[in-house]
């Protein structure tokens, strides 16, 4: 089994909710052992998609193939997959141990075996052993998360699905759990299919990412390739904090819309193309600084983001986001500054 083998294939998968298509003709191959993330805003159909994969929702058309075998009609309880729910859906009337052992209980495993497996899993997800007899209602948010994870792993599933399980966790703990999720994927060697509305979260842990919008996959690729080359304006904006510059045609050729600067050589653009500039690529230029394109703007405000500082600058009513070089003192609000970028840092987005 290598990491390039396909474990789960989606073929033209659709789900129709009374005339409204929540998922439209999704075709996708998920590889053995990878951490695959489907990311999209709420209402993009990502939850419906994962529920179909888990067997909790019936596809309207298309096929789901698990290692080449069609599993459309296999109910959730007969699929070798487990899901970690957004709400976690822990059994509140049971102890931590009973929750984790549930999949083994319904299989009729004996007590000794169940207990041994629970202990092993609790260690894997870093839950203290004395939590075994504790009621899940008395666990903290992070602990409940770990119980849900252990419970999903108990049956030794081929694929684990995650439906935004970290969305209710506070920021600091979320950052830790995101990394643990990636570690767990490596340790167990299982295929993880993860859903989130946060591209940032997806970037941290994924091997590959599919971006979803209105029931369709609009981009599929490795995190860095999506980061560096978003396929559309939607994907670019979904990642947050970017500058998008419109391109238009005037008498001489293609120019940047608001700046009326002719496009540099080597940038293939037609009318309707957008140029994406990341904040770190749009620099505040010192007195004698040089760049391919420079223009004047007024500093609106600056924001300290830990080790970095972001600056919002205005030119007419256009706002630009720039990241200051380390150690550079931020300009005062209202101060005139010179911004600049190089053509090689601009990414053309044709949508």
């Amino acid at each position: 089994m290598t990491r390039t083998d396909t474990i789960l294939s989606l073929r033209d998968l659709s789900r129709d909710f009374g005339g409204k298509l929540a998922v439209k003709n999704v075709t996708l191959d998920i590889r053995e052992g990878e951490l695959f993330t489907i990311v999209g805003p709420s209402g993009s159909g990502k939850s419906t998609l994962i529920r179909m994969l888990a067997g909790l929702e019936i596809p309207s058309s298309g096929d789901i193939l698990l290692r080449g075998k069609r599993i459309n009609d296999v109910p959730a309880n007969r699929r070798p997959t487990s899901m970690v729910f957004q709400s976690l859906a822990l059994f509140n009337h049971m102890t931590v141990g009973d929750n984790i052992e549930f999949a083994l209980t319904v299989r009729g495993e004996d007590r000794q075996k169940k207990r041994a497996r629970a202990r092993e899993l609790m260690e894997l997800v870093r839950l203290p052993a004395d939590y075994y007899a504790k009621s899940v209602t008395r666990c903290s948010g992070g602990e409940r998360q770990r119980v849900a994870l252990a419970r999903a792993l108990a049956s030794d599933p081929d694929i684990l699905f995650f439906d935004e399980p970290l969305s209710a966790i506070d920021y600091r703990l979320r950052k830790i759990l995101e990394m643990e999720m990636k570690d767990l994927n490596r340790e167990t060697g299982k295929t993880f299919v993860y859903i989130t509305h946060s591209l940032e979260e997806a970037m941290v842990m994924s091997d590959r990412i599919a971006v979803m919008r209105d029931g369709e996959i609009v981009q599929l690729g490795e995190p860095l390739s999506i980061y560096n080359a978003p396929a559309s304006r939607f994907v670019a904006e979904f990642m947050g904090q970017v500058n998008l510059l419109g391109v238009e045609k005037d008498g001489h050729g293609m120019v940047l819309k608001d700046l009326t600067i002719p496009l540099g050589a080597g940038i293939a653009a037609t009318e309707g193309t957008w140029l994406m500039l990341r904040p770190e690529r749009l620099r505040v230029l010192p007195e004698n600084g040089r760049a391919d394109v420079t223009f004047d703007a007024v500093c609106f405000n600056s924001y300290l983001l830990g080790s970095r500082t972001h600056l919002h600058a205005k030119m007419d009513d256009r706002t630009f986001i720039s990241e200051l070089d380390a150690g550079m003192p931020p300009p005062e609000p209202g101060q005139r500054i010179r911004l600049g970028f190089d053509w090689s840092d601009a990414v053309a987005i044709h949508e």
Partner: protein, 282 residues
Amino acid sequence: MKREQKAGLVLMSPPVLLLIAGFLLPLAFVAYTSLMPPRTFGFTSNITLENYVTAVRESYWRPMAWSVFFALATTILTMLISWPIAKALVRKSRRFATIVATMIAVPVFIAETVRLFGAHLFLMPRGGILAGTINYFFGIDIGSVLFTPLATLIGLLYIYLPFALFPTVLGLSQVPADQVEAAQDLGASPWQQLRYVEVPIASPGIIIGSLLVFVLVLGATSESHMLGGQSAVPIGFAIEQRFNYAQDWPLGSALATVLCLITALLVFPLLSRLDLDRLFGR
């Protein structure tokens, strides 16, 4: 005594006094009367267990057994019937739930005697609604269901279904849909989802419903009066007869006391397991 404690006592005293005067005192009278010599009226100091001996010797266990049987059968059957209806009421649309709930609740507002008379007409032989319809369409004579223990049971199911249904709805509404899905996802068959998730979480409602039906049926008499005839005499009817027709209050009281004890023995262990806070979502 603290202020709040005082306030609590003041607020609690009217219902407590009412319970003492209206419930505990009569119960004590009944218990004491059961220890009087046969056919005495009023209290004397001659305490005897003779009535209890008579109750056993003259095979009063028979109506007692019928009552317990009817109570158990009605409880189990109404629960089985309630479960799918309750599930539909909880999971389906609000509109559907309102219609079905109304259809089940409205008959409760009609006098029991009237409803049982309706059931009587329904079960009557030959010209009755059930027998007549079957005869008309299939030409089969099903004979008489009326004046059999089955008729009593049908009447009991009809009258006591709402008492089982509504607590079950309340209990089932506490079952989160995602936990049932999680159970399914973890490999539980529909039967296992029921056993490990739905029933345990809905149990306060199930216990309340079962207790209501069980206790009410244990004392019920009208159904066998109007539908069962003499085929199966329930204990409530036997007690009534001791008081009215036979004019033997002590024996009637002895039977009533035994009935109370049986009820208490079955009800209290269940009640102690009931978590009312959970039912009310606290």
